[in-house]
Amino acid sequence: MSCTYSSASVLSSPDTPPGLDKKRHTRYWLRCLRTHLPSAYIPNDSNRMTLAFFTISALDLLSSLVPNTTPEERAAYIDWIYSCQIPSGGFRASPSHDLSAVKDGSAQWDPANVPATYFALATLLILGDDLNRVRRKETLKWLRCMQRDDGSFGETLVNGKIEGGMDTRFGYCATCVRYILRGKREGPDPTSEEQDTDVDALVECLRKAETYDGGMSEMPFHEAHAGFTYCAIAALHFIDRFPWPIRSQPSEGQRAFNKMPLRKEGIVSTTSSEQQGGIKTRGLTSPDLTIHWLASRLTATISSEDEEDTYADETDTPETCHDAHSFVHTANFPTSMGETSEKSRPTSHFALDWVGFNGRCNKVADTCYAFWVGAGLTLMNASRVIHPTPVRRYLLEQTAHIVGGFGKLPGDPPDVYHSYLGLAALSLLETAAQAAHESPREGRDKPVEERELKALDACMCVSIEAKSRLYAIWQRWGVHDGKDWDGGG
């Protein structure tokens, strides 16, 4: 395959990447489920709810959860998750933090944790729980306490102080908890009578974390990073403040909304008009540039050796700059050494057989960014800007491990984090590939038995099937008004 392909010819080309070895990956995850994770996971002991989510959700995506577990076992998993619930709302991230057995002790060092609460609720949905035992009112109240004046969310509340970074990961997890418990609608929740979080402030906070190159960072002026970019985009979806679909010919008025300046500048009227159903600030000031930034994360630099080639080199050759392998300007070498090195280089181009994603500019590809970037593009309705086949081949031929699961880089041993996000990325690629060949909605709606992996909801990062269980739960709670519902296949 020539690397000077056109997208149209590639999309219809017959090159078929290897299939996913579902048995092997299922075995990997069943091992994680049934036996103890090795002691190397002790530094992750405080993220056990996250590890639990990855395990259960991976088996769900593989359609291997129900066939390999009994209803009693699944009920026990559900009980375990509830055992991590804090009576005053939210979930702790690990039973190792549990101080509830101490009668006269202080509970301040055993606080609820924002990411753990998202992972707990999502895992309960996947396991088919009805969320009946969730302390919904308390959790909504606690969630409001987790938001800072600047709109950002923290991780935990200790002694009345919000702790943890200001980054978008917590904003993402918080908006997902809010979505699961009360949908997208803003304002006081009529069923629990709990006040809403400050949605406008969060939007402003996310907009401030946009970087000069179109990505998003942890907080203002930090470097653009694919993980934070995904979290910001997904959070905007959960609160229904994403810009209007930018390629669906928005009206002039909608365009104006997308580019609306911040409230603080005094140009847009304040919350009162917003509450009257008027103007709402939306996130992402330059969606087109954000898509550009996300598409720029595609890279053929997939191993650390590739990366070292690009270090401190004097100029660009196909060897030093793997993303620009199809040309080189030979007349421009400042030194004779550079010229010599250019002459000795092989004449063949780097093949684009394997293409990964990096998380930041000029970094090596990493399995997890296939999800962070791929899902970001999906949520921007732009998954077609990537060609799924080489990314799929990168995951299946380079970072998938022989024992199942995925490592971070080619040759790395698998770990729970990369193994889950590798599968999540593959599910989105499957959807994108089907959408490219067929009508846009067919990939998503294809029956489970015809797909390799269950279709993933790019926003909640669980199967669309699991997310769709929320519908009945919302009806029971009385929060569903039809307008909020945006998923469920």
Binding site: P43, P95, E223, M260, A312
Partner: protein, 360 residues
Amino acid sequence: MPDHAEDEAKYYDDPEWADIEPIQQADQGPNPLAAIAYTDEYAEAMAYLRTVMARDEKSERVLRLTKDVIEMNPAHYTVWLYRAQVLFATHADLHKELEWLNETASQYQKNYQIWHHRQLIVSRLCPDPASSAATRGPPFPGAGIDVDSLVAKETSFVASMFDKDAKNYHVWSYRQWLVRHFGLWDKGELEFTEASIEKDVRNNSAWNHRWYVVNGKEGSEGVKEEKVREREIAFTKRQIRLAPQNQSPWNYLRGILRKANLRFSTVQDFCIEFADLSKPEGDDVFSSHALDLLADIYAVDEGRNEQAKRCLLLLKDKYDPIRANYWQYRLEMLDKEMGSGIDSHLPEHETRNLTSAVSV
């Protein structure tokens, strides 16, 4: 030297801890999720930690215990906060704490909590550098410290971390905080970014830090100020000429133009140096990023829509095939909406007051 057996049972037979009833972990039910094979050492330390945390004990022995737990599980999200409170309550030597953090940070380079803790300790040592007197701080060893020597120690520690990984996200974030907290804007920070970029012109973290130093100071106009802008554009052009296919400076250049509200066409001639499509013997392109920017320059100008198309086609078919689908998408966009470069001016974008948001 303690023997191995003692190593594994640090607390239960230690008379100093005899008054503590360790709280064993209660993993509920027969099927816990994500169970980890704890070592005896970790399980024991955590059992004692739970007890002292429940008692909210603030003592010197807790400092040793929290250190022990952190060295095994640095991502424990409350043990760091607890340790900080104990340090302050026991008036511990905070310089010693920083020395210990130096070792721990090198060991756990990807850990976030370490850097937050470090920030807390340094703020405590020097809450208000502007008044250059830690003397107003509470009385504890280390009060009345020399601000300059603290800053020198911190910046040199950060530099040593960059020797291990020049793109470590947490370390760059901490560096930004140091600049803000100690007001290092004009104290050699720009030169530091220049040196970092000189070391590796593709280090995007260094480019981002330069953007921060130039534009991040509260009340500063940054590249909106002509003198600053000219300096930055000249610097960026020099770096691009060194490695034209390097994405970082091209993004930086685009960022300057956007923030300063300049038309992209101001750099058209510069782009053509790297992507001359006018030569009769065929196109002469050696930077896909130049072509990318040229596409935007031409796209906003209706008369040159065909040229924009040609740039995008060259990117798609020849110079950036890894992103062929993206360039195809851009071509379709161009057909749909005349004049839609991805950066068609968004002046309001630049009215954002970013600095006011920073309040760590």
